[in-house]
């Protein structure tokens, strides 16, 4: 394959990971923005979504679409419920102190991960995609006969991958509408702007916190259900989404939704393209250093306005 089709392929793969990353990172960003706490266990909520999707698909059987659709509904709800319980049982009791929350969510990370290891086991298991047609993509070339289209070998994507991108875009638009147009979004934004003032105006701040924590986790789980037919479910799969979401949230500016979205697309695409040409380890080294340096020299993020 020549360079051109290669880059197109890499950016298509990158677009899929950007879509999933955007869902996960927006979840993390919401929790940080509204609650001002960093949830280290976010990657494990992602993993839990994928594992629950496998359990649901496995127990239903029949056509893959039935199991997948059920998982799409059950996994985010269940993961969201688990997160709400964790919020009420742990975070609320330590009064959302930022540093203690980090320690507690590190504990939560190990609890979720190890309980999954004990119940689900160490194997990686796939969930079958509801539909999965291969779509060959054309490429053009200026030859002797002018502009020519042809189908290079290996340049293809699947209908499912395109559907993932569309689904993620729809959900993100929904989150945007929820935050800007609905009463629930208004309460969340009020809590984000000034917790004490919101409390004084009778907003049930603790209930808002619990719901935001659950909603953030549910978004991560949704991203995981979408990705699990492409990437298998495994008890250690939460580490990479956590790291990448962190990168996205910090580059995009802590607590800023549009910034997070732009950064997710940027990071997802460049991660896909860089990984094709360089070693993935080198790409990760550069990305982690970038996050560290951005936090040191530009703590408000590249697009944000508020310091961490």
């Amino acid at each position: 394959m020549e360079l051109g089709p290669y880059i197109l392929l890499a950016s298509l793969e990158g677009a899929v990971s950007a879509a999933v990353l955007a869902l996960t990172a927006v979840g993390l960003s919401l929790v940080f923005g509204v609650m001002r706490v960093v949830n280290i266990a976010h990657g494990e909520f992602f993993m839990l979504g994928a594992v629950i999707a496998w359990f649901v698909a496995q127990s239903l059987g029949g056509h893959p679409a039935i199991g997948f659709t059920a998982a799409l509904i059950v996994a985010p709800l269940l993961v969201g419920a688990i997160a709400v319980v964790a919020d009420l049982a742990i975070l609320k009791r330590i009064a959302y102190d930022p540093e203690r929350t980090i320690v507690a969510t590190i504990g939560l990370l190990y609890i979720i991960q190890q309980v999954t290891l004990m119940t689900y086991g160490p194997e990686a298991r796939p969930v079958e995609a509801p539909f999965n047609q291969r779509i060959a993509l054309p490429w053009f070339e200026f030859g002797d006969n002018g502009l020519e289209f042809y189908y290079p070998w290996g340049l293809s994507t699947t209908s499912y991958k395109l559907a993932v991108i569309a689904a993620a875009a729809t959900v993100l638009a929904g989150v945007w509408l929820l935050m800007t147009r609905s009463r629930a979004g208004l309460l969340m934004r009020a809590t984000q702007a000034d917790r004490d003032m919101a409390l004084a105006f009778g907003i049930p701040v603790e209930r808002v916190y619990a719901l935001v924590f659950g909603f953030g986790a549910a978004l991560a789980a949704l991203g995981a259900v979408l990705v699990v037919p492409i990437q298998q479910a495994h008890y250690l799969m939460g580490a990479d989404p956590l790291l990448l979401s962190f990168i996205v949230v910090i580059i995009g500016g802590l607590g800023s939704l549009p910034g997070t979205l732009v950064a997710a697309i940027l990071i997802g695409l460049s991660d896909g393209i860089i990984s094709v040409f360089f070693s993935p380890t080198l790409a990760k080294i550069l990305a982690t250093l970038l996050v560290g340096l951005v936090l040191v020299f530009r703590p408000q993020g590249l697009f944000g306005t508020r310091a961490a």
């Binding site: 960093v38 980090i102 504990g107 040191v296």
Partner: protein
């Protein structure tokens, strides 16, 4: 008895007990104890930054690994003998901690935690990237023949115990001397109220920098000793897990207490040792302990002891 005498007596007493245990412990626990003392030295280093200065780092594995690889790479590829290799490990620790301190101390709170986490992760990935020299995750063994320190064979259990004891005693006494010195008291003041310390005319940045370098140096010394005594260096010692462990040990034992890191390491080591006999998911214990500690005993074991009984504990 004055409090000063009590404090000195208690800590020297612990060292005497640990020295005597060498002759009493059965082989299995003898080996464990040597390991615990080296890891407790790492925890003591961590405690100086976290417990006394109030800076929560999530990247101390970087310093531990700097010491370990400073020692093992110079032995493996430059043909160093253990004494200069140990020195190389400690110097690596000083340089890495000073470098990270200059960057990370520009931030505070949650940003400080994430910055240290990210740089430690970059360090871990760098070790994986240069797998040609470090053998990555698999790691490499330092042969018994390369572990003769001034003619003492450190692969022998008795010598190993004594070497671990020496490191631990040095770290414990250094930490005790530090926290009783004016410098140590300034660090505690920074932890309690940094703005006020600045207003009193102290250079808080210099103090925090020094604390981070001392903390990183002790951690690197522990890492180098660990590699030398147990003859192995692997990338897993640079992973996030090894940044979480000292936090866990110090929280369990009691942050901001001199004995806390040792007590926490001792308890956690045996807790994980016992549970790994039952299940492979032994990190579950670590997770549950972390959550329970943040909820019910943020002071840790020695911290609770100090609060309730011995108010004079340093």
């Amino acid at each position: 008895m004055t409090n000063g005498q009590r404090i000195i007596g208690l800590h020297l007493g612990l060292l005497v007990v640990l020295f005597a245990l060498q002759f009493l412990l059965p082989a299995y626990h003898h080996g464990n104890m040597a390991r615990i003392m080296v890891l407790a030295s790492y925890a003591i280093g961590y405690n100086i930054l976290f417990g006394y200065t109030g800076l929560l780092s999530l990247g101390h594995a970087l310093f531990f690994a700097a010491g370990m690889y400073g020692l093992s790479l110079t032995i493996q590829h430059a043909g160093f003998t253990p004494a200069p290799a140990l020195l190389a490990g400690v110097i690596a620790g000083i340089m890495v901690s000073a470098g990270l301190a200059f960057l990370a101390l520009r931030t505070t709170g949650v940003a400080f935690m994430i910055v240290t986490l990210m740089f430690a992760q970059a360090g871990y990935l760098t070790i994986l990237y240069f797998a040609e020299y470090t053998r990555g995750d698999e790691g490499f063994v330092i042969q018994a023949g390369q572990r003769l320190l001034w003619g003492i064979d450190l692969s022998d259990p008795t010598n190993r115990y004594f070497a671990a004891f020496t490191l631990f005693a040095l770290c414990l006494l250094a930490s005790l001397a530090l926290v009783r010195s004016p410098f140590g008291r300034t660090l505690v003041a920074i932890r309690e109220n940094e703005e006020r310390v600045t207003m009193l005319g102290y250079n808080t940045f210099a103090h925090k920098l020094a604390a981070m370098v001392i903390s990183g140096t002790l951690s690197a010394a522990a890492g180098a000793t660990y590699g030398l005594l147990f003859g192995y260096a692997g990338a897993s010692f640079a992973s996030v897990q090894y940044s979480i462990f000292p936090l866990l040990w110090v929280l369990l034992g009691g942050a901001g207490t001199v004995l806390g890191p040792f007590i926490g390491t001792l308890f956690m080591f045996y807790l994980i040792d016992l549970s790994s006999g039952i299940t492979t998911a032994y990190m579950l214990i670590a997770g549950v302990t972390l959550v329970l500690l943040t909820l019910f005993a943020p002071q840790g074991l020695i911290g609770e002891l100090r609060r309730r009984v011995w108010r004079w504990l340093p």
